[in-house]
Symmetry: C2
Subunit: 647 residues, 2 copies
């Protein structure tokens, strides 16, 4: 092999300084073959590369592309419209649109929890209607974010013992949640929520649904002394230990309403046109149960009721925000977790409906809208709120077309707050529990779980871990475990990248994975490898050992006739390389040379080629005679040459 | 476009159930073209796939391949040799080899810190000589691991106030470090240390060198009341505040010896044959300075000396291991960090020299050896030890050939411990400080930093962060920040994968990146995109938005003649896909259909093809008429067809 390098000079790079050993005839033959040179991308300064990278990372949607080449006044109008999407649709808002929203808002009212929940269904929807860009998103408190907030705050403060402090902490956490959300949007870090994969969310939601349902056992069984813990084990223990407190009247009522609600749900799912059945069922249950309690004075027979609620709109609560250092860590952490979770739900729901109706939702703008909504909410006695899937689905089914639905809903809530509060006095807690269970049961998505199992066992593991973590450990830790596994899996893919031996598909110059394509055949004298990952610090050691072992196996297995001459490394699927990766290539080149082999690189992509060139400028390891554009061309040129020199 | 799907049936899959619109002539033309079918890899059970994955992740080096097909007795002998590499080389050990090791061990003795350091240079080398697989690695305490251990333990316990407790914690941490190291080796989790990239290590080492040097200012300037903190700012503040304590005799001595040592270092680097100059310089300095102090009674003139050290070998220290719950967290954490850091150094040094001499070091076996060495060490009054770069380099330069060098060194230390300790009484602390500075200055690798800057700006950022983090914040946090950035970068590459528009290189059927290859040309009617990353939860949102924007731009920009008909997604560089990725492909297929476009997938690799097939079984979105093996074939078939239908 030594001494034949000079012969590669034919690929038009002028590097044949060692003197060819090939005669005129052979040279002519080689010249007839089309061999293409590997090009480096056009030179760019570090600054301009950095700019492009930053743009692609933080502004992948190019939000200002509509602004280009417009006169200044138009730009101003567009900027205002960008910030306040309400201006986009209000001028076109007609009475027919209004009508379709009205019914829905009425239906949504049905599944409201008392006072703070009502407050939270009044202010935030108004804010979102002005700032939000999704037309279908119906905002309000959602079970999961409320659940996480409750469980995190309860670790430090008991809501029963210190109700005011607990309320302060909740408002403060909401404030931080809003701040986190708005910051993510403004800093264009929206991709952070992408790390919650579908598998994670499916498992998490199912676990959360069970945790929420378990909490309702207090109301459903009429237990008075219930555990404050959230896990499956302590709750079931508490339920079993307090069998004496079970009240048969409450249980009877619970079973009846639960069956009613679930039947309504089933009907609506089977015949989508009857969506209003499940939408109205909760309100109907509240009315019926309230009447029943009122008529039979059931509160005296062991059925607990909501009791007196004050009339009046949201009171301001900015004086309740608590930035005391003792609780600052707790509220920031709670805000961060609930903020990101509720954002994930809100943005995911917005995207789902946008894709159904084929319009685009700007993720980062949504985050700003939801964030501001929560900051305003925290100053007006509201919990953390976001776009809720079930409400938005009802909206969508009813054919609502603009964010006006949120305004209508807010107005309905306002009427309730001002005038209808006394009517809730006799509403039994058990019916609220039944409504919550019927609502969250929909979060357990068994077909999705089955689909995940069929598609990808690793995703299934993530899903199961999220689920088990939530019900057995805690809501935050379950989530953290699932995210951790998802990220670890991605890192593992990088650390142990796929490498394949390729072969030639007979009669073509296509080279493909030998394992996948049965009609692909080894080319004698060549070891053709593909690497399918960025080559970086995390995998150079592995690649190095793996490739050396392959070469070793080849060399020891091969007989005289098919002796190994060339190792081809196809870099088509290597999007990036770092300093460790370049050192690895240089090392590999040297060590293959020691074994009398030639290392050929095929089709390095832009960034990789650039760095190979830079390494060349310094050391000159990869001359253009070891770079080819396609495996086909490399094999053709090199084997022609091989035949000529080895008779 | 609608109604033309049936025509694709020609690629031999029998799916032409919609009835072709192409006449006999055209069909003949199409049949003449070679179109290859995309194959899925052969079916494998989940269990066998899992087995292969586990093998590739944890046993990439296939450590037992030599055992295959050997008789049982041979297998036993090989297993013993595998566990005790000493049996591999002892039978071949000759006197000539012995001689070449002796000189080195002598030289190594020179840079030893007192008592515990000496102990640590006695037992661990003996253990490593039996268990280790590297021939060049010289083990002993190293500056970085000692530094980290010191700084972490000092946060909880003051070594001056509670010396015994501090010693106990150090031994316990060493025990845990060994446990962590051995476990990583046994569980074959060696790849964890790969996450310390070269850039991280270069920055970290430079920062650590500066921190270590700063600590020596106490000895060099003769300051008595020195800060216990490690950072640049507090140390410099302490130095400036205590100018009154500076002792000119000490400073004079420090400058002289430092100049001497650095000159020796420089000489050895310039003429590698004179390696012994720098190897002997530290010992020479110790002897000369001790004599000077003894003769001039310098200890009475403000020069601090080591003082009395007890003769005798290592005392057992297993009774000093402290598993008290108060300190358990601290010692486990310290053990984890120092264990991983020292492992990284040891394995990296072993690999470096192995690759220089072209033999293989088994990373996982090394970890077990180093781990056991530290467990034994913790029971015999030793600090954490590992393979040290500087000592090993001296070994290598002197041409040592087996791990016997470690035995020789241990024996020399033994002699010192037994008989020579009284000679150190008058050794001034200042000379030890000078020796340490001269040693660690070599860890600042400016050429490597320059190389990283030239190669990869992001790696440079990692390097600078590690450096700045170490000198301004703390050793562990600097390291954590650098590792965090490295991993974040990898994740960012996944979250924002490279996508390229490809064009045809004139006169060939090669398709390449338009930006990189200037002679590549757009094919009218086609948008050819490549994705260069696994498609998973972390990037499906991005890919979705980005591709839709491209299609939108294409559609709005294109004139009638080059109207867009086909979107080709080249999946050659997509090594893996998860459930979110499959949903994304299905969504994209649907949304392109809405725009009257056809989505074509090209060359899905094994795993991806398998999942596409599974999705097909359920929904049938990707029939084989939208799957091609190469972009060339896809364009050829589809454009032939296009021409025929659009006159």
């Amino acid at each position: 092999m030594v001494g034949m390098r000079g012969a590669y000079g034919y690929n038009g790079n002028g590097n044949n300084d060692e003197g060819g050993v090939v005669g005129g005839e052979a040279e002519a033959e080689i010249a007839a073959m089309a061999v293409h040179k590997v090009a480096a991308p056009p030179a760019q300064s570090t600054a301009s590369k950095l700019k492009a990278r930053v743009k692609e990372t933080f502004f992948p949607d190019d939000p200002f592309r509509g602004f280009k080449g417009k006169p200044l006044t138009t730009k101003w109008v567009m900027a205002v419209q960008y910030l306040f999407p309400i201006l986009d649709w209000v001028p076109n808002y007609s009475f027919s649109l209004f009508k379709s929203d009205l019914g829905i808002s009425y239906a949504k009212l049905a599944s409201l929890p008392p006072i703070i929940g009502l407050y939270s269904s009044f202010v935030p929807p108004m804010v979102y209607a002005v700032l939000g860009s999704s037309r279908d998103l119906a905002v309000g408190p959602v079970s999961i974010a409320s659940l996480i907030m409750g469980s995190m705050l309860r670790q430090a403060v008991s809501p029963a013992a210190e109700p005011l402090l607990f309320l302060q902490l909740a408002f403060t956490s909401t404030f931080f949640a809003g701040l986190v959300q708005a910051s993510l949007g403004i800093l264009r870090l929206g991709f952070i929520i992408d790390f919650l994969s579908k598998a994670t969310l499916v498992g998490f939601m199912a676990g959360a649904a069970i945790i929420v349902s378990l909490q309702q056992l207090k109301a459903l069984l009429g237990i008075v002394h219930f555990t404050t813990e959230m896990g499956l084990v302590p709750v079931m223990a508490s339920v079993i230990h307090h069998t004496k407190e079970w009240s048969w009247q409450t249980i009877l009522m619970a079973v009846c309403f639960l069956v009613l609600l679930l039947t309504a749900r089933h009907v609506s799912m089977k015949w989508p046109k009857l969506f209003w059945v499940s939408a109205c069922a909760p309100l109907a249950c509240v009315i019926v149960s309230t009447l029943l309690v009122f008529l039979f004075k059931a509160q005296k027979h062991g059925i607990s009721i909501i009791g007196q609620l004050k009339c009046g709109l949201n009171r301001p609560s900015w004086d309740k925000l608590l930035f005391d250092p003792t609780y600052l860590g707790l509220t920031v952490k709670t805000g961060l977790v609930t903020g990101i979770i509720s954002l994930t739900e809100g943005v995911a729901v917005g995207r789902t409906f946008a894709s159904l109706k084929d319009y685009q939702v700007d993720g980062n703008k949504e985050m700003m809208a939801i964030g501001l909504m929560n900051i305003v909410g925290s100053c007006t006695s509201c919990y953390v709120t976001t776009g809720a899937f079930s409400r938005s689905a009802v909206n969508h089914n009813a054919g609502c077309k603009t964010a006006m639905s949120n305004v209508i809903m807010a107005l309905t809530v306002m009427v309730t707050l001002l005038f209808l509060m006394p009517l809730f006095v006799y509403t039994p807690n058990v019916v609220l529990g039944a409504i919550i269970i019927a609502a969250v049961i929909g979060l357990i998505d068994l077909p999705a779980v089955y689909n995940i199992w069929k598609m990808d066992k690793m995703d299934f593991l993530v899903c199961v871990c999220a689920f088990a973590g939530v019900i057995f450990i805690s809501v935050q830790q379950g989530l953290a475990i699932a995210v951790g596994i998802s990220i670890f899996r991605v890192l593992l893919q990088i650390t142990r990248p796929k490498m394949m031996i390729q072969g030639n598909i007979k009669g073509t110059d296509i080279y493909r994975n030998l394992h996948q394509y049965k009609d692909a055949q080894r080319v004698p004298g060549f070891l053709i490898l593909t690497v399918e990952a960025p080559i970086n610090f995390a995998n150079t050691n592995y690649l190095n050992e793996r490739i050396k072992r392959w070469i070793e196996e080849e060399s020891s297995a091969g007989n005289k006739q098919s002796e190994l001459h060339f190792v081809i490394l196809d870099l088509s699927a290597v999007p990036a390389i770092d300093t460790s990766g370049i050192s690895f290539l240089i090392d590999l080149k040297k060590s293959t040379e020691k074994h009398g082999l030639e290392l050929i690189l095929v089709n390095p992509t832009g960034e990789v080629m650039e760095k190979i060139q830079r390494a060349n400028d310094a050391h000159g390891h990869f001359k253009s005679d070891s770079l080819y554009l396609t495996t086909g061309e490399a094999v053709a040129s090199l084997s022609t040459f091989s035949k000529m020199t080895t008779p």
